[in-house]
Symmetry: C2
Subunit: 144 residues, 2 copies
């Protein structure tokens, strides 16, 4: 298991926690110096708040841990490609590295806001992609 897979597994745990609360199963963790410094999962229904995406909560938690708002030396692992809102937040945070699992053709930032991230942010996609995507498929299938 690679380091990226190891942290994506923790993001997947968060996604499963969302699923267990009947939330769209997306999870995220922020890592610095090999340590998880922030984590979160989607809570938009529970909190009745469209801004309560996994990434937003992980970013806010990481900044709280660091005592500063910039995440330059950090990596964010998220099970699904961030939306426009989350990509905007990632841009403001000057995140060092973004790693996501499944792509999101309908809502992902790559289509709708390709220049949202800081130019120095490294982007890696497709880590544990099948598992991340399957969780989403399972969720929407059970909703039908």
């Amino acid at each position: 298991m690679t380091t990226d897979e190891r942290f994506m597994r923790i993001a997947l745990e968060e996604a499963r926690a969302a699923m267990a609360q009947d939330e769209i199963p997306v999870g995220a963790v922020v890592v610095a110096g090999g340590q998880v410094i922030g984590r979160g999962h989607n809570l938009t229904e529970t909190l009745r708040d469209v801004t309560a995406h996994a990434e937003m909560q992980a970013i806010t938690a990481a900044a709280e841990t660091l005592g500063g708002k910039y995440l330059t030396g950090c990596a964010l692992y998220v099970t699904v490609e961030p939306c426009v809102m989350c990509a905007g937040a990632i841009g403001w945070s000057q995140l060092g590295r973004l790693v996501y699992g499944a792509s999101d053709e309908k809502r992902g930032f790559r289509k709708f806001a390709p220049a949202a991230l800081h130019p120095k942010t490294e982007v890696v996609s497709g880590v544990l992609e099948a598992e991340c995507a399957q969780l989403m498929k399972d969720f929407f299938q059970q909703k039908r």
Copy 2:
């Protein structure tokens, strides 16, 4: 004074509250049925949180007031054109009407994420534009 100007004046009050806290002076209010149901100003420095923009706080506050996450019947007044993150949040909220004062050529969503809003969201710009822009100029001038 038009209705739009009246609510933009309240957003400007919020922006001045940000200024007084040495925050970039942006303020926002959400209005439904002629009533302010959420308000906020930029608090990114105070909270050390890149997500703490005026719009995000006003949206979250309005959803809290309504007890639901969608702002379909609401208008959001904000002194400066929303950034990509805030436009993404506005998109998720299915906001009825967005009214902003000054444009933001550098960070505004119209350049970086023109399709971020819900297709039914009406957009009005330039309300009390000079006053909204002047507050930003004053802030950055004093920072130099």
